[in-house]
């Protein structure tokens, strides 16, 4: 493998120098294959320096030759730059095989009607995988990554209660136009007794066992102009989609954490707090920020989360 062939058999090659008359140094050269591999790496480096960005020169650096990459930047402008991994990635995200296939399928979904999408398992799977990312980027900060919301702050999208309507049209409208959810604060209108009566009545609507007489007093406040609650929540308490008013007869509580309270007193306390402080919350408008196709995919996604209407 190497050429340390001793001049005479049994002798080891020396460097040829002799110090103090008799001190010699063995010469053990590297094996040739190792040396050649080393020279090959040197040659590789030299070629690399010419072809790729390599050396810092003052405030800039050598860009390499014959290595231009053309891609479209985020403003839609066509850019040509020297070789770099970032541009390479951007180009791949735009022109790569997967990017092309994804674009083609996106166009198919964009052209399809909602009922076509909902009835097609493949388009549904595509919508889910794309919209999951969109939802995570845009909606999850408030509604949670699975659309579960936060009680008292942001509505749960995975259940079957829809403040502003659960049909495809309603959901698309909600996402693109946004909503202002508003309920006046009643702390100046009602005294403590009245708040207690009203809370009893409201809790009774969804099957809680409450004090009958208090509930009867609350009912009067609710269903007459004394309280005026029925303007938005209707006399039956089932809510009004156009106002985003909650259905009080169901088991879902988005503001007062009734289901999480152990006893009636705590439940009443929590409902009273909502009545006295009112509600003011906002869902931003997404048209203009998201493309119509993105809103379409999100609509399908949110519709599927809770089973839609």
């Amino acid at each position: 493998m190497n050429d340390t062939k001793a001049k005479s058999p049994g002798a080891v090659q020396t460097t040829g120098h002799a110090w103090d008359g008799d001190i010699q140094e063995f010469n053990n050269p590297l094996p040739n294959w190792w040396l050649w591999a080393f020279y090959a790496t040197v040659l590789f480096a030299l070629i690399y320096w010419v072809l790729y960005p390599a050396w810092p020169v003052g405030g800039t650096f050598t860009k390499g030759v014959m290595n231009h990459i053309t891609f479209v930047d985020s403003d839609g402008k066509e850019m040509t730059t020297h070789w770099n991994t970032r541009a390479l990635l951007l180009k791949d995200l735009q022109d790569g095989k997967e990017a092309r296939l994804s674009r083609e399928y996106m166009a198919k979904v964009a052209a399809a009607s909602y009922s076509d999408i909902l009835g097609d398992a493949e388009m549904m799977a595509f919508s889910r995988s794309v919209a999951k990312g969109l939802f995570g980027d845009n909606c999850a900060p408030c509604h949670g990554s699975g659309g579960q919301g936060v009680i008292g702050l942001f509505p749960n999208l995975a259940d079957d209660a829809w403040l502003w309507g659960g049909s495809i049209e309603d959901i698309q409208n909600t996402i693109s136009q946004g909503h202002l959810g508003f309920m006046p604060a009643f702390r100046e209108t009602f005294d403590d007794q009245q708040l207690d009566d009203l809370a009893s009545y409201v809790l009774g609507l969804s099957g809680n066992k409450v004090d009958e007489t208090a509930s009867a007093r609350g009912k009067i406040l609710f269903q007459t102009d004394a309280g005026g609650c029925y303007y938005c929540h209707t006399k039956a308490g089932t809510g009004l989609k156009s106002q985003g008013a909650a259905d009080l007869t169901d088991q879902i509580w988005t503001l007062a954490d009734v289901n999480g309270a152990a006893d009636l007193e705590t439940r009443k306390e929590r409902v009273e707090k909502v009545i006295s402080s009112g509600v003011q919350r906002q869902m931003p408008r997404w048209s203009g920020r998201l493309s119509p196709t993105q809103i379409k995919l999100l609509t399908v996604y949110v519709h599927e989360l809770g089973g839609g209407q």
Binding site: G10, M124, G146, A161, Q251, G306
Partner: protein
């Protein structure tokens, strides 16, 4: 100077110029080579009619996660077959090595096959052993340069076609070949081709027997499977050496009778067996680690013995016991055990492949949120069902559930599902249930998938759990 200092740690390669030989083992080896090359180089070009999927008989489609092997389509879920195949290959190697020694090395190993091809090229361009030695020692002339360049060019061409053929297994062969030469093939195709070109050229052209002697792990551990009954290529010492050793044919040592009388063996020390050896050893020195059992020395010696009329088999396949005059047994506890395990593994893989499930389903429960309370007080859990149709027919499926009394299954508008052939789909399912008890915790149930048109595909069930938070939790 000490002994250690006088010993070089490196063994410079002594050039080996194997001489060509004719004979039954050489013919057998040419036959195996022709068969192996026929399969390897032509298989990617073989077309295969499929209802769905590519028309290539053997195609490993990594991007689509499907391996096409003639009529069989191996899906990603079946990849454990690969482990089974490797187990069988290893067991077969152990089994054969225990009985017949290094049969794989001598006849089937690609190092041996490609070295044979390279030696053939070398011989056609530069001539046989003597001509090659002479050429190597001759000063550089145009003739020598041309012959050397031609040899290496042909080697590189063979290496290149080997590498390119390997790449063809992973994509549509005719299409990839075209793309390759106009510079539009994927990077992986170029990297694979060039890497295998380089390794083939280096291993078969330059490194040769050093691969077997220094690099190959199998060559290192195969000896543990050897015993006194294993078939080995060996020299008949008693006959070849007799009492006075081997001797060249001289005037008074011409006939077998003359030699017997003088106590001289049958070996005429012609050196043919050494010259044909691709690893450059002398088989008369006994079993050596370099020996790959290629049996070319048997062919060489038989040629000589036949021409002398002294009877073949001076160098022959035998075993240590047989050579010592004892009875050699093939079926012993060791070989029987290897054989049984091999049979069991082959049967298990065969059963698994022939019983490939035509339809697969896996269920993943969505955990965020784990459950949702609905307006009527029921609890809803959501699941993602992954269905994979492995048949080449579309399947109409009905998805149902069982084991949770009174529960409602909601699949949106996908209750009747059309699953395209050789395709997978993910479907979201919601299950709503009012727990009859206040017991908090998980309850098991099953998702059932029922094919609506029967194509020999039966109902499939997959277990799932329903989480019930209880009344107090919200």
């Amino acid at each position: 100077m000490t002994d250690a200092a006088t010993q070089s740690l490196y063994q410079a390669r002594i050039p080996i110029y194997p001489r060509s030989v004719k004979g039954r083992f050489r013919n057998l080896k040419w036959g195996i080579l022709a068969l192996a090359y026929g399969v390897y180089f032509l298989l990617p070009w073989l077309r295969w009619e499929r209802t769905v999927g590519p028309d290539q008989a053997v195609l490993f489609d990594i991007a689509a996660r499907k391996f096409y092997l003639f009529g069989l389509v191996v899906h990603a879920q079946d990849l454990f077959w690969l482990a089974g195949f490797l187990v069988i290959a290893a067991l077969l190697l152990f089994f054969v090595t225990g009985i017949a020694g290094r049969v794989f090395c001598g006849y089937f190993c690609f190092q041996t096959l490609w070295t044979d091809l390279y030696l053939l090229i070398e011989r056609l361009v530069q001539g046989d052993r003597v001509a090659r030695i002479r050429l190597d020692h001759a000063p550089w002339t145009v003739n020598k340069l041309l012959r050397k360049v031609a040899t290496h060019a042909l080697w590189l061409l063979a290496a290149f076609w080997t590498g390119l053929t390997f790449a063809l297994y992973w994509d549509n062969a005719p299409h990839l070949l075209g793309e390759w030469f106009i510079g539009r093939a994927p990077f992986a195709a170029y990297a694979t081709t060039l890497f295998l070109t380089a390794t083939t050229y280096v291993m078969a052209g330059l490194a040769r027997e050093q691969v077997c002697t220094y690099m190959c792990p199998y060559a290192r551990f195969q000896s543990v499977m050897f015993d006194a009954d294993t078939r080995i290529v060996a020299y008949d010492v008693a006959r070849g050496e007799s009492s006075q050793g081997r001797h060249k044919v001289t005037r008074d040592l011409k006939t077998q009778a003359q030699r017997r009388e003088r106590g001289v063996g049958d070996c005429i020390d012609c050196g043919y067996c050494v010259q044909v050896c691709p690893t450059g050893i002398d088989i008369r020195n006994g079993l050596q680690v370099q020996c790959i059992s290629c049996a070319l020395c048997i062919d060489a010696c038989d040629t000589i013995m036949k021409s002398l009329g002294w009877g073949k088999s001076l160098v022959r396949y035998t075993s240590e016991k047989q050579a010592a005059g004892e009875i050699s047994r093939i079926w012993k506890p060791k070989t029987l055990a290897y054989g049984l395990v091999l049979l069991a593994a082959t049967a298990a893989l065969g059963w698994s492949v022939s019983h490939q499930t035509p339809l697969e389903m896996s269920v993943v429960q969505l955990r965020q949120p784990l459950f949702v309370r609905l307006s009527d007080g029921r609890i809803q859990n959501s699941y993602e069902l992954h269905l994979e149709n492995k048949t080449d027919k579309p399947l109409a499926l009905a998805i149902m559930m069982r084991g949770l009394a009174g529960a409602e299954l909601d699949l949106g508008r996908l209750a009747a599902l059309e699953l395209p052939p050789q395709r997978g789909l993910r479907v979201m399912a919601r299950v709503r249930w009012r727990s009859n008890s206040d017991v908090k915790g998980s309850r098991g149930f099953y998702f059932d998938v029922v094919p609506q048109r029967h194509h020999g595909v039966g109902m499939l069930s997959a277990p799932a759990t329903f989480y019930n938070p209880g009344q107090e939790d919200g």
